[in-house]
Symmetry: C2
Subunit: 82 residues, 2 copies
DNA sequence: ATCTACTATGCGTTATAGCGAATAAATAGC
DNA sequence: GCTATTTATTCGCTATAACGCATAGTAGAT
């Protein structure tokens, strides 16, 4: 499943969804990469000041990666327009 | 063109490529979003402490967006393995 | 070689993420 | 309901991004 994200809120939501799919707690994710549960919480809630390192470390822990693409796409689905 | 990025270095490189395509200077990008040229420089050079807000603001200024996806893919090209 | 434009780096300051530790609040199971 | 787990939030502290400002490279063009 691919998740578009233009804001830190959307980014956090995508991460939370993935974590839930993997049935991990914020604490468990944090333990793996030496970040506090509170830090994972902040990231998932879209704190925009979160550092890139934190974002990328969590994504790695969750088996996620980023794709950078141009914004032009109108999505595969007509739904996305509305 | 889609650019996979798992590290801040790759993220910075993708941004720099895009900026060059648009023929903008770091200064011009910075002016649009009230960030210093030095800050754009740091981002493009992959400073991992760069804040998410900075990353996303620059991406917006460059007409880019992020897609979050699972890491499983073995790429469309056999090349990517090596 | 010089001029121009751009990018990288330095310094002192300010703002804030992440820290440990704890606790409060919310959610899930029974 | 109650209990256990999970998540959100607070405090004081430390580390560091981003700031303004400046300057030192670096690359290109003539």
């Amino acid at each position: 499943m691919e998740q578009m994200a233009r804001t830190s809120i959307q980014l956090g939501a995508a991460i939370r969804r993935r974590r839930r799919i993997l049935k991990l707690s914020q604490q468990e994710v944090g333990d793996r990469i030496r970040l506090r549960q509170a830090t994972i919480s902040a990231l998932e809630n879209g704190m925009p000041g979160t550092r890139m390192r934190t974002l990328l470390d969590v994504m790695t822990a969750l088996g996620l990666e980023i794709v950078v693409r141009e914004r032009s796409m109108i999505g595969k689905d007509i739904e996305e327009i509305f």
